[in-house]
Symmetry: C2
Subunit: 206 residues, 2 copies
């Protein structure tokens, strides 16, 4: 028995969990779920997660945990990836909530429309509406990374994993990072972290 | 010197912080910020929070923390409102991320359009688009609360505070809770928590 992670390789929210589990060397069974085929909407999946979303973590005893950033927190507790000092812990969460509210709905959704839906005409207006708030999120990140090497505590944490997931593929949704040198340098620092290269096989599938 | 909380009384995200600080009896200075007057977009405010949002917590040393649910975590650490057991801690975060991604963008935004923008015709289509996903979030909550008294660990935590904030005013955005008896019973349980009545003066202003 080991933990199970239900994920779709094309989803950055799932990529986060794969990256953290790989870097933390947590043995796990990766169960492929295809979102486009609506495999998150089957009765058996909804029994595990009534909200119908991946990633989903299933513990050995069958208990399920959803929400990518809550799973990151669970997996990293007690490791160097999750600071325990009160303010730093809250700052990690601040960036993860920023990611889910101000970054993912624009940067991930634009990529979804372009790469997975094939940029159909009926979504063009919606795609264009994602651009300004997406760039605003990148501006906030750039401003922070101009003064800091990582998002919290000047070291690599799950805040970086959470934000790396969709930022490193932001160009697939049409976001140009040329004007964001601090973000590009940070992306490179993340790629230099231990075990990052073990993700390459996973990256090549996507 | 005491901590400062920058908030707009009309925002449920700010209400969360007021409720938690009141129940935890944390002395604080509440600094009124008017979102509609764009007071979150002034240069001085953006220096405190480059993402231009309230609530914002400012510590005695000037350090600022943003994102309502990260502030809840900071304020409640070490109290009964935040479980420390690994899975329960992650479950609290699961529900708080659910709140920000699957609940607030629909239930809070509908309320904003109806109550604060006055339901203008140009937002009617957007308002209607909020209904189905908003009710989906309520369905997920109802299903959980049918089997549980609170969201995590069968006791009142910041997960309840986070979800109470916009759920207890969901009707202001046009959501009808008649078909949600478990949610209505849970709202009542929240109202019975210690110091809840101290929020009445605050409620009456909004």
């Amino acid at each position: 028995m080991m933990i199970k992670i239900y994920g779709d390789i094309y989803s950055g929210n799932c990529y986060k969990i794969k990256l953290a589990a790989t870097q933390l060397q947590i043995p796990h069974e990766w169960i492929k779920i295809n979102i486009l085929n609506k495999e998150t909407e089957t009765a058996s999946f909804l029994q595990k997660n009534p909200n119908g979303k991946v990633p989903l973590l299933e513990l050995e005893n069958g208990t399920c945990l959803s929400e990518s950033n809550a799973i990151l927190h669970y997996l990293s507790e007690g490791s160097a990836l999750l600071p325990t000092e009160r303010l730093q812990h809250a700052q990690v969460l601040q960036w993860l909530f920023f990611e889910q509210y101000s970054h993912e709905p624009y940067i991930a959704t634009a990529r979804y429309i372009v790469r997975y839906l094939g940029r159909p005409a009926e979504h063009e207006e919606r795609l264009q509406q994602k651009m300004a708030p997406g760039y605003h999120a990148l501006d906030v990140m750039e401003q922070h990374l101009t003064r800091h090497s990582f998002f919290v505590a000047e070291r690599y944490t799950i805040a970086d994993i959470g934000l790396y997931a969709y930022t490193h593929v932001a160009h697939e949704g049409g976001f140009d990072l040329d004007a964001y040198p601090a973000i590009r340098a940070w992306l490179q620092r993340v790629r230099q972290q231990a075990a990052y290269r073990d993700m390459q096989a996973f990256d090549q599938q996507s």
